[in-house]
């Protein structure tokens, strides 16, 4: 029982860390040494970086909002899990925790899908998706699995 609890906790913490890194790191698209998207457009010139704020496209602002909301909901789910661990009746399910975690996974899925569909075409061969984009797509199944585990999990004596 304790092993399951520990594993669930580790999974949730991993999800939180992945969501935080994906939201805050500015590396959704890489063009050589330049990194684009989600918050800045940084281009390298003469050994220094010049960064310009993004966000004039509506779809990018929507992706920003969805990623921030997913992080907030996952954090809220973690806090509710810790609360319910001590206050839930014996045999009860972690319903609220599961709801928030599944909502977080839905938000991250929407954000990743919108970014994938709307991001501009590759300009050259050195363009590629960055690690923050990969982490966002990774966060979606992990949070979904975590939420489903909370639906199934019961508090034992």
């Amino acid at each position: 029982m304790l092993a399951i609890l520990f594993a669930t906790l580790v999974l949730h913490l991993t999800d939180l860390i992945i969501l935080f890194v994906s939201t805050c790191a500015n590396a959704w698209r890489i063009h050589g040494a330049d990194s684009y998207d989600l918050w800045y457009r940084c281009a390298q010139s003469n050994g220094g970086y010049t960064c310009k704020g993004t966000g004039e496209e509506e779809w990018l602002q929507a992706v920003q909002a969805l990623m921030v909301l997913a992080t907030i909901f996952s954090l809220t789910s973690f806090i509710i899990f810790l609360c319910q661990l001590f206050t839930l009746v014996k045999g009860g399910r972690f319903f609220f925790t599961a709801v928030f975690q599944i909502l977080a996974s839905l938000f991250v899925m929407s954000g990743a899908i919108i970014y994938t569909v709307m991001s501009p075409k590759w300009e050259s061969d050195s363009d590629s998706y960055g690690y923050a984009f990969v982490l966002a797509w990774l966060a979606f199944p992990l949070t979904l699995v975590s939420g489903l585990i909370y639906i199934v999990l019961r508090k034992k004596e």
């Binding site: 993004t54 966000g55 004039e56 602002q61 929507a62 909002a65 969805l66 921030v68 909301l69």
Partner: protein, 205 residues
């Protein structure tokens, strides 16, 4: 104690005499749609009262040009618009110098009006200060400002969440109160029936 007060007042007076510099405030950038009117606002902060000799001066430097031309000057209580400038018949003074407002309005902006506008205000005897620049950007369609949609989506979702939680707790509270009042009425009725039965049973014995 008295010496500390004296020292503080001397220091403050010293700082205040350095603070008699005028601060001019304008926007940082103005985004407008082509063909519309734009109001370029300019105001200032000064430690002195607004004098009758307050002056406002606007100049314009087109994008890519190195020199700026003077387009407007307000002095001695009267506005003066440059008769040969690029805005000669499109500029209007809409400010109120008594309220420290030296704003101008430019009508029917075009793509050639992209550039930097500089406002310089002087309030004698307060004449030491830096002018302030505002950049004019003319668009065919004004884009949404960064962060507006982001904040709106986050605010709406969190607001809905708080609303749902509040409604849930309110329903629980109302249902609990209803159950409580029903059980109270049931309890009173039960006691009443017992009392009448006892009274009937009493005299018959």
């Amino acid at each position: 104690m008295l010496s500390v007060l004296a020292l503080t007042s001397v220091v403050l007076l010293g700082i205040a005499s350095q603070c008699t510099a005028i601060s001019v405030y304008t926007n940082w950038e103005k985004h407008v749609q082509v063909g519309s009117d734009v109001r370029l606002s300019c105001s200032f902060f000064s430690w002195h009262w607004t004098s009758a000799e307050v002056t406002f001066s606007w100049s314009y430097r087109p994008d890519g040009a190195k020199e700026s031309v003077s387009i407007f000057h307000y002095t001695n209580g009267a506005p003066y618009i440059a008769t040969k400038g690029p805005f000669r018949d499109r500029l209007e003074f809409v400010g109120n110098p008594n309220r420290r407002d030296g704003s101008i309005m430019i009508r029917n902006v075009d793509y050639n009006d992209n550039g930097t506008f500089t406002c310089d205000a002087k309030n004698p005897p307060d004449i030491m200060g830096h002018p302030s620049n505002v950049r004019l950007l003319v668009f065919e369609k004004v884009p949404v400002q960064a962060g507006v949609i982001t904040g709106a989506i986050i605010g709406v979702v969190l607001g809905l969440l708080i609303l749902v939680v509040a409604i849930y707790y309110l329903m629980r509270f109302l249902v609990a109160r209803r159950v409580f009042s029903l059980s109270m009425r049931h309890g009173k009725k039960g006691k009443g029936k017992e009392g009448s039965q006892q009274r009937q049973a009493g005299p018959s014995k």
